[in-house]
Subunit: 324 residues, 2 copies
């Protein structure tokens, strides 16, 4: 059977059955990071593989930005479990003729991200390859034994999201056009901010479920819905969509916000009675805006987007690495 | 500057200065695995990146063997620090048109290796790529706070090695000839045995320094010499070289043993007065042969191979991923 027939998430389901059932109290395949129980404590463990021509184009992205982002996307996965990043290893595939300085700048960018989050790259592996490959694996600490999964959203919970949606996707499109006027959008794409500080403020308010927005808001919120067996009702007018005044793009701000991906914002659910206090705590501690965008509903109602009181299915395509 | 001018180990030195000094009591870049101190305990952390066309050829290597080996090479790194493997994450780059069954068989092979060592694959990342990419990162536990570095070999220590050297390299060459008669050699290449059980028996006898033989015996023993600022004197007649009776290969058994690589045997140094007991303990517990092959000498004497009482420099090329 061809991969394109099952897609990324179909394949993950098949592999899940091969690797077996998680150890006691552990979370394995299917969340932002694995949760491990060592005799001595709880560990978060995640990995992301970035490949030239798929995740980045060295014509648009310099090595420092690329290094920064390759660490940041892993940090975001640890943040989405409620944790803080600690130590990373890096597997690097380099193409013949690559300059030593390019690799040093890649590592300088990694180091900048590490310093921001008080973490470190502690080892790795180097090899030749035909495309540049950057594989990062990251260890993090949760808050004590507490971590935030995808599967605990409950009907009636509020749905919230940090920051703005669609900026990274807009930045990528502008970069491809050679338009470098909106530096805020380019930066959102090249140097996404992993929401670690926001999670520190948020987690004592006990969100019920959380993901980071990497594949796209619809797709990632869909992961919460699938894992929690719930639906959602999202108010279009409440979504913190990218501001694109004076910018010419094929897609609307709403489309970029729903399906763009690589925002690395946090999308979480939380019981209504704790929602306001949690949003205020995050904004007070970090200055980052948090927006309530909808509510968790019965699974039978599906995933719905309310646009001017009319209901639309919330099913914009997200990023499936094996289909696109 | 071009990569080929500095080579793998030159580049690693440069990157080391960028990532900074290790945390208190930690070991970062430059050993088989990083050693991390969590508040709650000590962790070993390592990664290996395998790329199609560089590390494997799908024409020779089936997915099950490849999956097994991709885990085993990481397990070997943890063993070389004196530890046991616990949990792995896998980044997988797949080429368009790859069959789902191929990937499932890859994971079955990984699972076989995991079961052998009571460990698990707990997460990962999937993406498209132009070559098949398998990136494994592995966490392990040392014995308490004890781990075995490369830098503590002392003049007068014995140099020992487990198993046989050169079998994997001979197996690879036979496979390329289409000769599948010597299954023992093919197996040594396709399904190397990580020496975890051997390390369990060995480590209470306190070897002073240890590496696994991945790049080649000369190259890897050279890492101990460089890190410990010592030389070595190796007796050719004592080396456990691959037996190649009736097999036609360009290289001699000695050449394959010294420079072949991918043996995943353990090469360690140990004070003379503990050497015999340690060898006996490993063999008794596991059945694996251990051979004393030489001694640690002053750095000024260099790295010497004694062949029929004549001294030769012990400098066969090993595997430099960025030069070959």
């Amino acid at each position: 059977m061809e991969l394109s027939q099952v897609g990324e998430f179909g394949l993950i389901q098949r592999l899940r059955s091969i690797v077996g059932e998680p150890g006691d109290g552990e979370v394995w395949i299917g969340d932002d990071a694995a949760v491990l129980r060592a005799p001595s404590g709880t560990i978060l463990f995640t990995t992301d593989l970035l490949v030239e021509g798929v995740h980045f184009d060295t014509g648009f992205t310099g090595p420092e930005d690329l290094g920064y982002k390759s660490i940041a996307v892993n940090v975001s996965d640890v943040a989405a479990m409620g944790g803080v990043p600690r130590r990373a290893v890096v597997g690097l595939g380099v193409v013949p003729g690559l300059e030593v300085e390019w690799i040093e700048n890649l590592y300088l960018g990694m180091q900048q991200c590490c310093q921001e989050f008080d973490m470190a790259v502690v080892g790795g592996d180097l090899t030749r390859s035909d495309q540049i490959i950057i594989s990062v694996a990251l260890l993090g600490n949760p808050a004590g034994r507490l971590f935030i999964e995808r599967g605990n959203a409950r009907v009636g919970d509020a749905v919230c999201v940090t920051g703005t949606l669609g900026e990274s996707a807009a930045g990528l499109r502008l970069m491809r056009q050679g338009n470098r006027e909106r530096l805020d959008l380019l930066k959102a794409h090249l140097r996404p901010t992993a929401r670690v500080k926001e999670v520190q403020a948020l987690r004592r308010h006990l969100p019920s479920a959380m993901v980071d927005v990497s594949d796209g808001f619809c797709a990632d919120l869909g992961h919460i819905c699938a894992a929690s067996s719930v639906g959602v009702l999202i108010q279009e007018s409440d979504l913190p969509v990218v501001e694109l005044e004076g910018v010419e793009l094929e897609e609307s701000p709403l489309q970029l916000a729903l399906a763009g991906g690589e925002d690395y914002e946090l999308c979480y659910t939380i019981p209504e009675d704790r929602c306001e206090a949690a949003m205020a705590a995050v904004t007070q501690a970090t200055g980052t805006r948090v927006t309530k965008v909808g509510e968790v509903v019965e699974q039978s109602r599906g995933r719905v987007l309310l646009i001017e009181s009319a209901e639309h299915p919330l099913e914009m395509p997200g990023w499936d690495h094996l289909r696109v």
